[in-house]
């Protein structure tokens, strides 16, 4: 299968390792992976702030570039939700409405793509550690992804998954919310970090780097030894 991997702007600039792991995993499974130079961002920051005209300006080239893709895998649940759920709303009653629905039907978040599209849960990975998993809200509630990342983690050798309390509660990132309302975002993050720390895990794993950036930022500031890591990085460990 030829897979178009959509690497969102912040993964591209701040977490290249996550994208690299995804490419390596998908290629190891025998697929051709395409990453387009043309597209950089899904437009979610503008969309969430209410600037839908500006969001459409960013989203149009994405729609156009991905038009011919066989399957689109997005390296973040949040950006995945933007393409899959919010593009049809953003382009409703515009000439691109049909195209946005077409794209929506072939968009996948990375872990869900592995489990539900490729029907693979065992990637042969080994990661000897106690970990806890954080569900990004967009992946969880907009895309309905709860089981897939856990099924993948279950098959990782020597990995022990411990669920944290209030596991479905938001970590407080929320995109521009984190910068516009830092005090609320921080309080929410502190609650999340406390719940994660209580599990005694060495790693907090997620399928969304945006949550991890926020959570790791708080952990580092407090010199908390708990480390954040993206699911793809674990799945790529041998």
């Amino acid at each position: 299968m030829t897979i178009t991997l959509f690497i969102p702007c912040f993964v591209d600039t701040l977490f290249p390792e996550v994208g690299i792991c995804m490419v390596e995993i998908l290629e190891r499974l025998g697929h051709k992976v395409i990453c387009s130079e043309e597209i950089a961002c899904c437009g979610q920051p503008a969309f969430n702030s209410g600037y839908w005209d500006e969001a459409r300006q960013v989203a149009r080239p994405v729609l156009k570039t991905l038009q011919t893709s066989e399957a689109v895998v997005v390296a973040s649940g949040s950006c995945g939700a933007m393409l899959k759920v919010f593009y049809p709303q953003l382009f409703a009653k515009t000439p691109e409405a049909g195209e946005s629905h077409k794209l929506s039907s072939k968009v996948w978040e990375f872990s869900d793509f592995l489990v539900r599209k490729l029907e693979i849960t065992d990637l042969g990975a080994r990661f000897p550690a106690r970990v806890t998993f954080h569900d990004g809200c967009h992946g969880l509630r907009e895309l309905g992804i709860k089981k897939s990342p856990r099924l993948l983690l279950e098959k990782v050798r020597d990995l022990q998954l411990v669920e944290m309390a209030d596991v479905e509660t938001c970590c407080g990132f929320g995109g521009t919310f984190a910068a516009k309302f830092p005090m609320i975002s921080t309080a929410m993050g502190e609650v999340k970090c406390a719940n994660a720390t209580e599990t005694g895990a060495e790693y907090l794993v997620s399928n969304d780097s945006s949550c991890l950036m926020h959570i790791q930022g708080l952990l580092s500031r407090k010199s908390n030894p708990l480390k954040s890591i993206h699911l793809a990085e674990i799945l790529n460990q041998k």
Partner: protein, 464 residues
């Protein structure tokens, strides 16, 4: 920035950093979640129940005109006086008019968020009447001269010690840590008020169009006493509280109790159909129902967000909302707090003045997931943001997004921008935390990862 936004920021900053408040909310709401889930399990299928409830409210709201007329006609046929109030001021005027015409002095009142919405207590007190809240939580916050903290749990922010201190100061009672004793203290103070009150004012949980009845659910029996003892009863009800049929209560009463308080059913469920009828031995001699619009019909005219009128005020969305949990109820500065408040307040009280409530959300969607009548709450926050930006955009924010769009749509320029970012990254780190820090809102409490030597796209290009 509106003054209510400034107040919101000040209060949110204070409460979000209050560890004691955080613990209080967590303890209370975790208990709620356990009870709620246990009662949800008693439904044969909670999700189907939500679908059915949403459909019933859809019917009720989409034929609101017919249902309201039926309700009024049925109520009037049994001698109830029905009043239509377009605005909060009109509703206050109507109620004050009734009180005046009865030559009343004292008023007993059961819990009603609509009364909070129209600031009824202040108006009655200003006019010289004594008003006493009969719901325990409401009574406590009334003694503290505070608005309720939560739609369903008005005094959830207070510990038993704080309540004991309050009763000691206001009622002269002995200090105690026992909830039962605290309740008895309030009960003793309230009983005499029921007997002397000339007027009883209630809210309503549902208004049944088919039979012309007002349904009130409660746990303390205070609404029954409020309705039954005074000679005149007034019910203030938001016009969205309509349910088409009596049989709808079979679903909505247990649903409200489950979602609202983790109960199978509230302890007292009463229907009021009119004043005392010939041959009846009790009940008020006069019954007035005030139907309140107060911009609800404007929300009705918005097909995108009309479902916000489905709300049964169970407070479930507040309970699961991480924003509510961290900033508390008073920070919102409005009658309806939490996600539903953030959706409807901009409609009821002005979009530009209250748009910050729709902005202050991480859009996690826990509210929408829990809402028993399936209001698309967190997406409506997005709709409010869009409407606010479209009608009055912020010059700088729009420019920023325009520039951003221009850059990301030009791969070569985007590449240069990334390189610039990498070059400037060590400088940013050097000024981190100072006034020169461009990302201070982030770095005040959080570290930012250093920019790696190579972006993903550079790696990908080099690989080819």
């Amino acid at each position: 920035m509106s003054s209510s936004f400034q107040q919101f920021l000040t209060d949110a900053t204070r409460v979000a950093g209050d560890i004691r408040h955080r613990g209080l909310m967590q303890t209370a709401l975790r208990k709620y979640e356990v009870a709620r889930d246990r009662k949800k399990a008693a439904f044969s299928d909670w999700e189907s129940a939500r679908d059915a409830a949403a459909e019933t409210k859809w019917e009720a709201i989409n034929h609101l005109d017919e249902h309201l007329e039926n309700l009024a006609q049925k109520l009037e046929s049994r001698g109830t006086k029905v009043h239509w109030a377009s605005t909060a001021a009109q509703a206050r005027e109507i109620i004050l008019g009734i009180i005046k015409s009865k030559g009343a002095c004292s008023i007993i009142k059961s819990k009603a968020m609509t009364a909070e919405e129209i600031h009824l207590n202040e108006a009655m007190e200003k006019a010289g009447y004594e008003v006493v809240e009969s719901d325990l939580g409401e009574y406590i916050v009334q003694l503290r001269h505070e608005p309720p903290y939560h739609i369903v749990f008005p005094a959830m922010h207070l510990t038993r010690d704080q309540i004991s201190e309050l009763f000691e100061k206001e009622l002269g009672s002995a200090p105690t840590r026992e909830p039962e004793e605290l309740t008895m203290i309030a009960r003793r103070a309230l009983r005499s008020k029921y007997i002397t009150a000339d007027i009883g004012i209630t809210g309503a949980n549902f208004a049944i169009a088919e039979t012309g009845m007002i349904s009130i659910t409660e746990n303390e029996g205070n609404a029954r006493l409020t309705a039954a003892l005074p000679k005149t009863m007034i019910t203030l009800v938001g016009l969205e509280k309509i349910l088409p049929k009596m049989e709808d209560l079979a679903l909505f009463l247990p649903m409200l109790a489950t979602a609202g308080a983790g109960q199978a059913l509230t302890c007292y469920n009463t229907m009021y159909g009119g004043p005392r009828q010939p041959g009846e031995v009790d009940g008020p001699e006069e019954y007035h129902v005030v139907l309140l619009d107060n911009r609800r019909t404007e929300l009705l005219a918005d097909p995108e967000q009309r479902d916000a009128l489905h709300c049964i005020r169970c407070g479930a969305c507040l309970n699961v909302c991480p924003i509510f949990r961290n900033v508390g109820g008073h920070t919102y500065g409005t009658t309806y707090s939490g996600p539903i408040g953030s959706v409807i307040t901009p409609h009821l009280r002005g979009l530009q003045e209250w748009k910050h409530l729709s902005a202050s959300s991480s859009l996690c969607g826990a509210c929408t997931e829990t809402c028993p009548v399936k209001i698309d709450l967190h997406h409506h926050l997005l709709h409010n943001r869009r409407n606010a930006s479209a009608s009055r955009p912020s010059f700088f924010e729009r420019k920023a997004y325009q520039v951003f769009a221009w850059v990301v749509n030009r791969p070569a320029i985007y590449r240069i921008a990334k390189q610039c970012g990498r070059i400037l990254d060590p400088i940013r780190r050097a000024v981190q935390g100072t006034v020169l820090d461009p990302v201070k809102p982030w770095t005040k409490t959080r570290d930012l990862p250093p920019m790696p030597e190579q972006s993903f796209k550079e790696w990908h290009r080099n690989r080819k």
